[in-house]
Amino acid sequence: MNKLKFRSRLAKDKALLWAVCFLAALTAVPLFAILGEVFLRGYDQLSWSFFTEPTPTAYKAMKAIEAGEPIPGGIANGIIGTMIMLGMAVVFAVPVGILCGAYLAENPKKRFAQVVSYLTDLLQGTPSVIIGIVVYIWVVVPMKGYSAIAGSVALFIMMLPLIIRSTEETMKILPASLKEAGLALGGNNARVMLKVQLPAAFGGIFTGVLLAISRVIGETAPLMFTALGCSFIRFSIDKPISAVPLLIWEFFNDPNLQELIWGASLFLLLFVLTLNLTAKYLAKKWNQ
């Protein structure tokens, strides 16, 4: 009887181990399924012209389909739009985010800092579609039109909490002796921050920025109400502009352009995953 009970306990133990391994392995399947599908369906669309030409009109695409030719054009308008909006968002979000993070790390006990810290979490948890609505109300309505500026404001708001958090967390794990040594050498707080703490925290902050970029670059919903989209290459920031995820959404909804979905998705996916892996690699390297 005792032996039987012992056996069943061991059997349960084994069963749990196998179940955990099996289910954990199964969880990895979607990543490879998605990567595989996007890669297999998208790789033959990637060509030089895919990156240098703007999206074709539905009419042109229809003609090409009728003639049995591949759809002309590419996603250059989206790539340039993404770069412009992301560039503007990064230029503002990085300094503001670093300074906010520094403030939080310097004054962990202050009531106001705790409020800011909580609100940063709140902002980070806000659904991106709501950021889109709010920026529509803030920027698009007063400016009387969709614009790259509005899109970049939306991206800015989404990047900000990510950069604040990563800066704060990196600065908090810096040894206190570092700051004290700087102060002992006669530097004031500002100088120690600029010359000692920020350089020491550079690795963590940099990876945080990379991750923030990879988070927002695929955002579609907020850009739908702010940047709107545009079918030709444009450099002005006060007019509607396109972005790669917006183009994917457009292709998804337009039966004539559906062939272009996978090339655009492959480009976006490769970009995001490369950024992610680079950030992870750098974080590991700098931590050693």
């Binding site: 749990l16 289910l23 969880t27 300074l99 409020v115 659904p127 991106s128 609505i133 900000l160 992610n276």
Partner: protein, 285 residues
């Protein structure tokens, strides 16, 4: 730069966060006001009509609140049997090994995939499977959306749960081992009771993620403005109705959509707040 100026600069920059948050709330409330005033707050919440024929416009949020709650709840149910094993794999069984590092990288990458690509995959791969299995004829619906949503929230639930599983003190586990407990018994009788509240809080935060997910749900839920009758029928979530109609809406419909946005915002903030408080409590224990 002297110290005083430095402090002032930091303080002023930090003010941006409260200003942005206040601006978010202010913009949502003022622009949602019309809809609440026109229909009445509770009437708006409980009405299931959504018709925009001119002259007899009627908007209510109930179908979309139901849609959001259904997709989120189902996604949570589908997510648990996968995220919990991943957390145990990374945090207990293969803790600190290379294979655990590989799995957590895979899970991290899963979190990095843009939601529109999840939507595409769901639409072109999962939807045909659901149609072939005869679960629903059109393929899209609450079930399809929740399945993909579940994959999307697994990384959030798993990585945080793993962290709490790792924090279970070794003495407790060693004590149980010395009494002859098997690993399965340790997990059931030591790890879950000790890390339970932390694991629970990681699911609360995962819910917070799922509530506001927009593109995936928009592409898969079927976009009909009625209360879903069953899990295989079509519907709309709060986020997906906004994504679908915001661009073409004006006046009362725009205000109603913003009101739905406000409700979604409040629900998300509430869930996230609960999650954060629970995490803080779990960390202290």
């Amino acid at each position: 730069m002297n110290d005083k100026l430095y402090r002032i600069i930091l303080f002023v920059v930090a003010l941006i966060v409260p200003i942005v948050c206040g601006g978010v709330v202010y913009a949502l409330v003022t622009d949602a006001y019309d809809a609440f005033e026109h229909f009445g707050f509770f009437k708006f919440l409980t009405s299931s009509e959504w018709s925009y024929t001119e002259g007899s416009e009627r908007y209510g949020a109930l179908p979309f609140i139901t849609g959001t709650l259904m997709t989120t709840l189902l996604a949570l149910i589908f997510c648990i049997p996968f995220s919990l094993p991943v957390a145990l794999f990374v945090g207990e069984y293969f803790r600190g090994t290379k294979i655990a590092a590989v799995l957590s990288t895979v899970i991290d990458l899963l979190a990095g995939i843009p939601s529109i690509i999840y939507g595409l995959w769901g639409f072109y791969t999962l939807r045909p499977i659901i149609m072939a299995l005869n679960i629903s004829s059109q393929g899209s619906g609450v079930l399809t959306a929740s399945l993909v949503l579940a994959i999307m929230i697994v990384p959030y639930a798993a990585s945080l749960s793993a962290e709490f599983i790792k924090m279970v003190p070794n003495d407790l586990k060693e004590g149980a081992y010395s009494l002859g407990a098997t690993r399965a018994e340790i997990i059931g009788k030591i790890i879950f009771p000790v890390a339970g509240s932390g694991i629970f809080s990681s699911y609360v935060l995962a819910i917070g993620r799922a509530l506001g997910e927009t593109m995936t749900v928009t592409m898969l839920i079927g976009n009909t403005n009625n209360i879903p009758e069953s899990i295989t029928s079509t519907g709309n979530s709060m986020a997906s109705i906004i994504a679908n109609q915001f661009g073409e809406a004006d006046d009362l419909r725009l205000s109603s959509l913003i009101a739905i946005g406000l409700i979604l915002f409040l629900i998300t903030v509430f869930i996230n707040l609960i999650g954060k408080i629970m995490i803080k409590r779990a960390r202290i224990v």
